[in-house]
C-alpha cells in the first residue's frame, strides 16, 4: 500500500492528519499493522487527557503481541474512535482510514517536526533491511 502524501508520520509508526477544524487525527500506519498482524484489541486514551509529544497513550494488541502507541505531538484528546475499539480488524483492513483518536494540538506547527511521506517511506525501507 502506498503511503498517503497528505499525512504526517512519527518514527514510532503513527500517522497524523491536520483536519479543517484544527484538530489532528491519529492512527497507526499500514506498515505498523502489517508487522503486528491480526488486530484484536485497541485501548484509546481518555477524552480530556493532556498528552506530551511522544507520550505513550494507547495500546494496540494483535493476536501476536501488544504494542504501545505514542502521541505524535502535544495536545488534548478530544475524541476517540469507538468503531476501532469494537472492531480492531478495521486497522488491518485500512490503517489510514481507521483512526484511533483526535487531539487539539497545543501548537499545530509541531506537525512540521514529523516525517513527510517520502521520509517515512525511507524509514520503512531502512527497517526492512
Amino acid at each position: 500500500m502506498s503511503i498517503p502524501a497528505d499525512l504526517k508520520y512519527a518514527k514510532t509508526h503513527e500517522w497524523a492528519k491536520l483536519e479543517a477544524d484544527g484538530t489532528v487525527t491519529v492512527g497507526i500506519t499500514h506498515h505498523a499493522q502489517d508487522l503486528l498482524g491480526d488486530m484484536v484489541f485497541v485501548e484509546n486514551p481518555a477524552v480530556g487527557r493532556k498528552l506530551a509529544a511522544n507520550e505513550e497513550c494507547a495500546v494496540v494488541e494483535s493476536v501476536k503481541a501488544a504494542s504501545d502507541v505514542y502521541s505524535p505531538i502535544a495536545g488534548e484528546v478530544v475524541a476517540t474512535n469507538s468503531e476501532v475499539e469494537d472492531s480492531p480488524e478495521k486497522i488491518n483492513q485500512d490503517a489510514f482510514a481507521a483512526w484511533m483518536y483526535k487531539i487539539k494540538p497545543d501548537n499545530a506547527a509541531d506537525l512540521n517536526g514529523l516525517l513527510d511521506a517520502t521520509a517515512y517511506q525511507a524509514l520503512v525501507d531502512s527497517e526492512a533491511h
Binding site: 484489541f41 485501548e43 493476536v63 501488544a66
Partner: protein
Amino acid sequence: MLKQTPLNQAHRNMGAKMVDFGGWDMPLHYGSQLDEHHKVRQGSGMFDVCHMLVVDVTGAGVRDFLRQTMANNVDKLTVTGKALYSCMLNPEGGVIDDLIIYFMREDWFRIVVNAGTADKDVAWLIKQRDAHAPGLEIKPRRDLAMVAVQGPEARSKVWLAIPGSQAVSESLKPFQAVAYNQYFIARTGYTGEDGFEIMLPATEAESFWQALHGLGVSPIGLGARDTLRLEAGMNLYGQDMDEATNPLEAGLAWTVDLQSPRDFIGKSALQTRPVTHQLLGMVLQDKGVLRSHQKIITAKGDGEITSGGFSPTLNLSIAMGSMPVGVSPGDMVQVQIRDKLLNAKVVKYPFVRNGKGLI
C-alpha cells in the same frame, strides 16, 4: 545462519512471513494468522514441524533404559505403533523436555522431542546411555521430515495424498501410529483437532507438502499453531514449564508415574518437593489480552500467567497460569495488565476441543 527445514523454499513460494524461531527460519503466517487458525478448526491445515527432532533409540534393553529416563511408564507401550506422552526429568525433578515415545519393536523406540531442546535432549540421553546402557544406539533422524495435518478434514485429505493409506490408518486410535511404505503415520497433534503427524524422508517432504496443498490443505504458520495449542490447553515447553518446573505443578501430574515401584530420574525429588502451585485456565472478563508473565492476584496469593493470548475460536482472551493451591475453577481473580487490574474467571482447560468451545 538460521537452520532451514526441507520445506523452506515451499514456504517462501506460498508467501510465508518467515521469522527466526529458536535458530530456525520458520513461517509465522502466510497472510493471516486468524484465517489459518479457523481453517484448522473448520477444515484442514498443514504444519511444517521438521524443526522437531525424531530420535531412534535401538538395541537390547531400550525399554529398561526408558524406564529409568522417562517419568511416564513405557510399560504402557506394548502394541507396535502405540505412543506415550512423557516428561524427561533431571535429578531435581525439573523438566528437561516433554516428548512423545512410540513403541516400534522391543529393540527400537522412537522419540520425538521439541526443536529448542533437541540438542540438549540428545546430549542428556547419550550421557545416560553411556552411564547405564552403553550397548544402545541413540540416533537423531534429521533425514526425516515431519508434517502435521490437523482439522476435521485432515485425515481424509491425507488418505487422498497417500494412496492406500486409508486402509492401514483408518482404525488407528488417538496416540497410535502405523508405518506404511515410506511414511510413519501417527494420529497425534497439537491443536485439539483430529489429524495426523507424518514422518517421511526429508527428500520427499516438498512433494508431499505440494500434494496436500493441491488437495486444499492450507499451510499454517507458527502463529496459529500457538493459538490452536493454547485453546487446546496443551503445555508449551519453555513457557508453561522448564527445568525449574515441578511437573506436578504444571498440569503434568497425569504423565508422571509415581504409582509403580519403578525408579526413574527425578522421582525421589518429586516425592519430597512441596506442591504449592497448580496450572489452571482462565478467561478474561474485561476487555484486553492476557499474555505470559502477567501477574495473577488471587485470594490465596499471587500467581503468574504462563501462556496467554487471544482465542480466535471463542473470540475472547484466555490463558493458562500458575496459581496457588486452593484456587479453584469458578473463582474470580485479577490480572495486572500494564497499569490496570482486570477481572478473570478461573476455568478448567482445554478451552476448545474438536472445534467446539468448552467454556
